[in-house]
Symmetry: C2
Subunit: 369 residues, 2 copies
């Protein structure tokens, strides 16, 4: 399934093979929560370099419901996307964004923020939703407590995450007929002992891949990058290592250096829709009056459709007059920006030039072990 | 410049050649008021068959201002569109949508609905704006009174439209250096005498093409189609005949049968953005709950990207969850629907099978002269 290839320090390139489809790593996963990356068509997504999209099992369960997705021929036809799809469980969204009505060892109950009807998700329900959706990779339901949380709350979440992962693993083994991969999510906040325990317990259950969840929730880049460096080595080197919720370019690059293979985040797409675009090592807000009449592309080096076809002041104009094309173009630029970065990281790992790329981004060199 | 080709009754196919670019007629012009068809990229527009886009001189004067467009390299670079561009003058918008502060034989003053600043448009100003924009075809400023209007008001509008057209023609002849074409707009409401007078006075001024303006303003399809049949013969057969503001498929087809060559309308694109799509001989509102879970494409016969890649219930889902892609796909479907219709009309005129196409749309056969 996953084959590591070139190695530089802890960083590696690799390839995931699943159901005849490939993902070259390091890779970024654009987020298509409801079955599409907002404002972007699948062919535009393929053109920026995407090989796998993330969709959300909880959101698709809420709308349109997995039964409708099955009726439409499964998630790939639903999304008009024949490359890889990973479905997140929705654990993060349910615990971070909603009022939980009830939480116990069997699952979590809450009301749909869309229409207020009662929804119930447990580890087995989430497996069944994802088997119905027929995504290529299914994330287990995890208990992801909002930070800051005290040690007891984090320990409870780790214990429950392991119990849910065991139930999900067994349920998946019994019901999967089509070779869907299943990944576990390590919890434990910023507590190293709990992270170690969580990883060890999940590795015991032999998943197809492992993610670090519950980071990138406001702890800041320095803490995130340090945590990525500490937690990547907890995950088995022969499985895909996935750092969830990370999409700031510097964070992605630091996490690649730490040994992670894949990343997802709404940031480049949500920002893009609102006219906030990556530029240099930062970002700019295109709505600002300072970009009125600004000539030249967003980024001289960028090969995206926005940079090739539109000048900065023209993109701003379309944003200001309310043309959705502006959001689409900015989204495509942000995605291409990240894909160019992971492509450069792949090349740098192969060529042994990661130190130069890290220097360029003013990131510390990882210490040799 | 314009060459009529096949003929069937009054209907004709033809080709406009301008600055090395072609427009095959009959043709529909998608509306890109502010320099882009909302939510649609130029390559998507070319893919549905568009050869000429309409942009609006008044709107671009208001935002971003023609000076900015010049700075960006002219309207073609601004729009990232190297095919033909026609700029409407804005007469229709100024007279229909805004509170006029002052109207006299020299022009019209009003406040920008965007920021309230005073704007002034006269026939020469509009020529200068369009020469700066460097569109391929420039429409003159016309006096387009909102209907219903009494005969005196219509007669004043015709008189002023002719006076403004004369001023615009002279100003254009003096200042055009790049072979921009200039079209006149016939006014006169539904008064046949005034239409005849308006057409005769404008033909005297020898424009490159002629439009019928001031129709499709709520008079209904029957009155519109009858007026199109009466007014097309007023325009010279060796020039492009343009019926402004018409985009309902049946109206377009009837107007083609009457002898018109080109059409524009915001309807297919504005409707599409809001999920109202052409289907059969009518239209449907995709947001309606009846399309929840609906399988199959919008139109089995349609070759557009929406119909090839998405089922009706999936398009509805993306619309309901607020994904701008839904509006883009519906816009592309509506445009492709119209382009397929004008392509079928071209073929039917060449093959002599227009009666069958008119029958299919339950339209009357034009009487032979």
């Amino acid at each position: 399934m996953f084959q590591a290839q070139a190695q530089w320090g802890l960083a590696r390139t690799g390839q995931l093979e699943l159901r005849g489809k490939q993902l070259r790593t390091p890779a970024f996963l654009p987020v298509g929560t409801y079955g599409n990356v907002k404002g972007v068509s699948p062919d535009q997504l393929a053109a920026v370099g995407a090989e796998m999209i993330l969709a959300n099992a909880y959101h698709l369960h809420d709308r349109p419901g997995e039964k409708d997705v099955v009726r439409f021929g499964g998630l790939h036809r639903f999304m008009s996307w024949d490359r890889l799809i990973l479905t997140d469980s929705g654990g993060f969204q349910v615990f971070s964004l909603l009022d939980i009505a009830q939480l116990d060892d069997e699952g979590v109950s809450f009301r749909s923020p869309v229409d207020g009807r009662r929804l119930r998700l447990g580890p087995r329900e989430v497996v069944e939703i994802q088997l119905a959706l027929d995504s290529d990779i299914a994330m287990v339901l995890d208990h992801c407590p909002p930070l800051p949380a005290d040690r007891a709350a984090l320990a409870t979440a780790v214990r429950r995450t392991t119990a849910w992962a065991r139930a999900a693993r067994e349920h998946h083994a019994r019901h999967d007929r089509r070779g869907q991969a299943q990944f576990a999510i390590v919890q434990g906040g910023l507590d190293d002992d709990l992270r170690r325990r969580s990883a060890a317990e999940l590795i015991e259950l032999d998943f197809d891949g492992y993610a670090i969840g519950g980071l990138s929730v406001g702890e800041g880049s320095a803490a995130l990058q340090a945590a990525a460096a500490r937690y990547a080595p907890l995950l088995p080197p022969d499985r895909l290592r996935y750092l969830m919720g990370v999409g700031r370019p510097a964070d992605v690059l630091a996490a690649i250096a730490a040994g992670f293979d894949v990343f997802d985040c709404v940031l480049p797409t949500r920002n893009g829709r609102h006219g906030t675009v990556f530029r240099g090592r930062g970002k700019i807000h295109l709505r600002s009056g300072r970009y009125r009449g600004a000539e030249g592309p967003l980024d001289e080096d960028c090969d995206c459709v926005a940079c090739r076809g539109w000048q900065v002041g023209v993109l701003r104009h379309h944003l200001v007059v309310g043309d959705p094309l502006a959001g689409t173009l900015c989204t495509l630029h942000n995605l291409r920006f990240l894909f160019r970065l992971v492509e450069r990281a792949r090349a740098a790992i192969e060529a042994g030039t990661m130190p130069d790329l890290l220097d360029e981004w003013e990131l510390p060199q990882p210490r040799p072990d």
